[in-house]
């Protein structure tokens, strides 16, 4: 069976500034992937390329054996099929919540894909229930908290039961409780047929949400491996600007080592 | 400048709604054609932006503040058609949701600010900015003047709409039923506030924003998605743009010179009504202008039949209630030119939409 994603040597530029250069990777169905990289490394751009919102200027992307090109997406059948099966959750939920109420937001996807009215209503209610946001049904988006917005954004894509979930920094700007709720959700999909590709720079969640990690830097994949392999390689993490090193004192000695704040203990590399 | 309900009669409201609807239709067609699916998010968010800008208190000389409409910026970045839609949507939300401006008068407000305002701003900006460098001061100056003139044009049209109410709509005892002040009160009252405060606020915001865009976001200044191209042509050809600009200057000049027509004495030869042919005074004038041939002693049958078929809204180029003939002339000229321009622009849009049968080769 064809891979879910076969990305061959793609390049993409924003207004003459290269964002992706010579990037290659392969993702199989059911994989849980983390795209690890600092801001500006190209993770968001890659997710949008995978969601066929942008198209590479060089190289190719194939989705389940079919090439993803602008021309293909102009065909209605392919378009509807693809949009149902692949879903992208944007980093900024305000961008994704463009409908007047939570209900309208979650109903948007099914309506665009031309479901009939009863199915839309039923499915929307199910999804609101599943995400525990039924009480927010008639709320306009500007009256939602950050965590609520995120849950609505997730609901708005989950309503279509997509096969591939592309998540752009799903836990950024969230309070710890909301963060753990999102991580729990992603963990639920472990072992299912869902392919989850999460772009993040937060190292602490990587082990929970992924079985394989691609490290991105300056628009290319510089390393890949399991979470433990990647996270223990501080040289790699330093190079990718995911951790920092600064000088500080320990017991009267001034030294410098790479580390990550927020852990209960330092990890020293001697 | 937002007219509340109750200031305009139902027939005035209906007429202006009709004009506005034509403008909205034309604008929607054009914007959809140029932007396709991008239109909805772009116009919506831009309308939200205009709405918020309308809430800014702009500090003005003398420690006062004024409000801008944002029509200058909208016309520069979105072009006149996009600006019509964005400003109209902002006005609709202001009226319905925030009670700023009436519902029966929404058509009028949109016509005055969104349609007249956008076109005047766009034309003035293109005329003055010409082909100058995007980063030049000429552009900033053009934006300031465009905003200023546009707001005052909107204010003038508003004042005219308000000023004709008492003469046209009153009860038998002479009580005005809607806006109570005639033109010679309404026009100065409105124009003073806008020639000073509102006009300056718009000029300040338009110029300030162009200046900001020159430094921070040049792409926006170029106009989005082909919308800010000249409304009647899709040429990227500078000489075509240049000749069109010269045309606009010529039209503006001619409009301003129309009062010269008052200097012409007597009546135009051949343009006589049956009243002219029976009045002894005018009969003498006609004879004098016809090498002393006397006009026929009785009114010819054809003229008599057709003479009263149609009475012009502005007989003698001056509405009945305008006292100064020169101003009446100028007003008629602006009205006439304005209607012609609007009609030709709309005809252009309709003609593009009209299905054409392709010729067999």
């Amino acid at each position: 069976m064809a891979s879910t994603y076969e990305v061959q040597d793609i390049s993409y530029s924003y207004e003459a500034v290269p964002a992706i250069r010579g990037l290659t990777l392969r993702i199989e169905a059911g994989d849980r992937i983390a795209l690890l990289g600092a801001n500006g490394s190209g993770k968001s751009t890659l997710l949008r390329l995978l969601d066929a919102l942008y198209f590479p200027s060089a190289g190719s992307i194939a989705f389940q054996g079919e090439p993803l090109t602008e021309k293909c997406l102009q065909q209605e059948e392919f378009f509807l099929n693809f949009r149902r099966r692949v879903a992208l959750v944007f980093q900024n939920p305000d961008v994704q919540l463009f409908n007047p109420t939570v209900f309208d937001e979650v109903a948007y996807g099914p309506l665009q894909l031309q479901w009939n009215k009863e199915d839309v209503l039923r499915r929307v209610d199910e999804t609101l229930e599943f995400m525990s946001i039924s009480h927010l049904r008639d709320r306009p988006p500007y009256r939602l908290s950050g965590g609520e917005k995120k849950r609505v954004a997730l609901a708005s894509v989950l309503v279509l039961d997509p096969e591939v979930l592309l998540l752009d920094e799903p836990t950024a700007t969230l309070d710890p409780k909301s963060q753990s709720q999102v991580v729990d959700l992603i963990q639920q999909w472990k072992g299912t047929a869902k392919t989850v590709i999460t772009a993040t720079h937060q190292l602490e969640i990587v082990e929970d949400i992924a079985d394989r990690v691609f490290v991105l830097e300056a628009g290319a994949v510089i390393a890949q491996g399991t979470p433990s392999e990647v996270l223990s390689n501080s040289g790699l993490l330093l190079r990718a600007n995911l951790i920092h090193a600064h000088r500080h004192r320990h017991d009267g000695v001034v030294h410098s080592h790479p580390h990550l704040h927020g852990h209960s203990h330092h990890e020293h590399e001697r | 400048m937002h007219i509340p309900d109750g200031y305009l009669s139902p027939s005035t409201c209906a007429t202006l709604y009709a004009f506005a609807a034509a403008g909205w239709y034309a604008a929607l067609q054009r914007v959809k054609r140029l932007l396709a699916t991008r239109a909805i998010p772009l116009i919506s968010v831009f309308a939200a932006f205009c709405f918020v800008v309308m809430m800014f208190n702009v500090p003005l000389p003398g420690g006062t503040t004024g409000h801008a409409v944002g029509v200058g910026v909208a016309a520069i970045v979105l072009g006149p058609w996009g600006s019509i839609l964005a400003i109209s949507i902002a006005l609709a939300i202001q009226a319905l949701f925030f009670g700023d401006g009436g519902i029966t008068t929404l058509g009028a407000n949109c016509f005055n600010m969104a349609i007249v305002g956008s076109f005047v701003a766009y034309v003035v900006y293109r005329m003055i900015a010409a082909n100058s460098n995007l980063k030049s001061r000429q552009r900033v100056f053009a934006a300031a003047v465009a905003g200023y003139v546009a707001i005052n044009a909107s204010a003038l049209v508003t004042a005219i709409e308000l000023g004709i109410q008492p003469a046209l709509f009153h009860d038998p005892s002479g009580t005005p039923l809607y806006a109570p002040y005639p033109l010679h009160v309404a026009i100065p009252a409105m124009m003073i506030g806008h020639l000073t405060f509102a006009g300056l606020a718009e000029a300040a915001i338009s110029a300030g924003m162009v200046s900001y865009l020159q430094r921070a976001d040049l792409g926006l200044l170029r106009g989005i998605g082909g919308l800010a191209q000249s409304p009647a042509s899709a040429f990227a050809n500078p000489s075509a743009e240049g000749s069109q600009r010269r045309l606009w200057w010529a039209v503006a000049l001619l409009m301003l010179l129309t009062p010269l027509g008052i200097l012409a004495a007597g009546t135009a030869w051949g343009e006589w009504s049956s009243a002219d042919l029976t009045n002894p005074q005018t009969r003498k004038q006609i004879a004098a202008a016809s090498r002393n041939h006397a006009p026929p002693s009785s009114v010819p049958a054809g003229i008599a039949k057709l003479s009263n078929l149609w009475t012009a809204p502005f007989p003698g180029y001056a509405p009945r209630f305008i006292k100064s003939p020169m101003f009446g002339y100028l007003l008629s000229a602006m009205f006439g030119v304005g209607i012609l321009i609007l009609a030709s622009l709309l005809a252009g849009v309709v003609a593009e939409k009209w299905p054409r049968r392709s010729l067999p080769l």
């Binding site: 306009p140 894509v157 | 949507i89 009670g99 009436g102």
Partner: protein, 272 residues
Amino acid sequence: MSRHPFLERTLRGFTRAVSTALASEHAATQPGLLQQLDPRVRVIGILALVLSVVLCRRIAAVAALLLIAIAIAAASRVSIASLAKRVWLVVLGFSGVIALPALFLIPGRPLFAVPALHLSISVQGVRTAVMLVLRVETTATLTTVLVLSTAWIHILKALRSLHLPAEIVTMLAMTHRYVFLLIETANQMFESRQSRTVGVLSGPAQRKMAARTAGVLLSKSVELSHEVYLAMLSRGFRGEVRLLTGFRFRVRDYASLTVFIITSCLVVWIGR
């Protein structure tokens, strides 16, 4: 802290806008008269009444409509006090002031003279001033009650069922949604600039601040619109707009609609 009145006034304007939205949301959930009706009936009914206010030619008729408007407001659990503060005083302050000179300027039968000012107030002047103010007050009351009792999205969906084009409805909905986001953004920008300025800015510097804030807001807005576009595409948008209206008429809706229409026509007829 009135160093920069333009800043304070602008920020206050923002607060007022947000509080209006909140008030509307709160009132829309109250069990009042209008809230029980189908939104289409509310929209058509109120519009019919607004139209009749403008069509009437007699003060008594407009006054009757004002009373009807107040009755509807009270029945819809809209506080009369808030109506007075939010609508009536504001209208008086604007249209009332505009109408005042009409007392003296409109020619007609003199009512009484003000000798000190060498002016006389005419009957026609009084009538026209009263008529104008009444018309504005009544229509403002009616629209306020409609907006307070009905969520914006329902007003729009009602307009859609009345055949307003789908694109226009979508744009009105999206604009409304993002107005509050942009207000918040502008609010933050102004507040942060306010806290960072020491002393009093000169006039030109103040103008520059206002214009620059507007400029940044513009860039952010256009950027936002690009992202929203991508989000729409990602969820299957191809240019057509599909809305779910889901309104259903009940007996009380037919009845109320009839009452609205008949009342409007009656008042116009009597007040012609």
